[in-house]
Amino acid sequence: MRHATILTVLAFGVLSCGLLGGCDPKMQMPSGFVEVETYQRGPYTQRAVSADGVVIALRSETNPKDATLDFWVTAVRDELVNRRGYTLAKEEPAEAANGAKGKLLTCTANRSGAEFTYIVAVYVMGGQVLVAEAGGKSETVAPRLGDIRKAMASLRSGGI
């Protein structure tokens, strides 16, 4: 009887997690990256760093009603290019592991004379806007571009 109760509670918990989106969305981080502790995540739900200073992180934000992928891609592009002065190098379609369509933007920016690369993937999944970001010095990001794209494509939302 006691076992049955525990199992029921566990099953209910797992179901809640899946159905109600209680679990955080996740990316499969590339090898060579170490996920940081919770207190070092900052505003991100997931954050990992490589030994040579490339950072990958995932941000999950509430999506207001009627906000489409185009809306967020335009907002992110405008923020980066027009407000931050980033140079947009490439914009291409992306697809998450669950089949959700997104956009991948690759930008460059100058910091103290050095060139940095910043990659951002935007997805809209149900009530969430998922923003996967990666960045670092261009020379260190370049050899990891494939791994970063793969990680961003491995994204799964917390819900169903």
Partner: protein, 254 residues
């Protein structure tokens, strides 16, 4: 009746200094103050006394050389010597690219780069291309601050030119004296003076060359800022807090 006549006379005398009997000094004062601060300033101000004309150093030297002959008055200098400088602060999307573009612009206009840092560049462009350079800089981004100045160095230029000519004339006289000199003591004295005047000539020539170059090539100092430093009123910020936190700064800071 007598009181009436007396009153009219007093009125005429009192009115006199206010207009009809104005003295030349009053006109001059009106001119000096631009006719604004002098009570009852006349509407028609006599033309200002002509400013003393600028004199050409060459003609001054001619005067010095031909001092014996009566010479016509000195000619007026033209054109004036003006040093133009400009300082700009421009918000751009890419600072490094803009710095390179400014350097290329200076080269294209026949100028050259003087100094360059990660966000500042100092260039010189030919004075007649100064306006073209300023126009191009305005197109590079949002001009946050602009300071263009023109310094008239005509007097300084003429003074140097005149001093140089005089020094050269003195040098010639000393050389002539040296040729005629017999006594060793005199020769030594003349040679010492000749050395001093030669040094002076070199110094003056250096100053004159420097000034001429500054007149011929205008200096432009440009400080570039990233676009995010542009005035806030030119940007619309969306009401989603997290949008302002995407990007490298937040991502790479632990």
């Amino acid at each position: 009746m007598q009181k009436l006549i007396l009153g009219v006379l007093i009125l005429i005398v009192a009115a006199c200094p206010c207009g009809g009997c104005e003295s030349p000094q009053a006109h001059y004062l009106t001119y000096r103050l631009g006719g604004r601060n002098v009570p009852n300033a006349p509407q028609s101000v006599p033309p200002p006394p002509e400013a003393p004309p600028m004199y050409n150093a060459a003609s001054l030297a001619t005067v010095a050389r031909d001092a014996q002959e009566p010479t016509p008055l000195l000619t007026v200098v033209e054109p004036r010597k003006v040093v133009y400088t400009g300082q700009f602060c421009v918000a751009v999307g890419d600072v490094a690219v803009s710095i390179q573009a400014t350097k290329a612009l200076a080269d294209k206009l026949g100028g050259y780069m003087l100094r360059m840092t990660t966000n500042t560049i100092v260039v010189r462009v030919p004075a007649d291309k100064f306006d073209a350079a300023v126009t191009e800089l305005n197109r590079m981004g949002t001009v946050l601050n602009k300071d263009i100045s023109a310094q008239d160095v005509t007097d300084q230029y003429l003074d140097l030119e005149l001093r140089l000519r005089n020094a050269k004339a003195t040098q010639q006289k000393l050389l002539a004296l040296l040729e005629k000199s017999q006594a060793v003591r005199d020769t030594l004295e003349i040679e010492k003076e000749l050395q001093r005047i030669t040094t002076e000539i070199e110094r003056l020539e250096g100053q004159l060359n420097k000034l001429s170059h500054e007149v011929a090539y205008s200096m432009l100092t440009v400080l570039f800022n990233q676009t995010k430093n542009a005035p806030a009123e030119t940007q619309v910020k969306l009401p989603f807090y997290w949008l302002g936190r995407i990007g490298l700064d937040e991502l790479l800071s632990f």
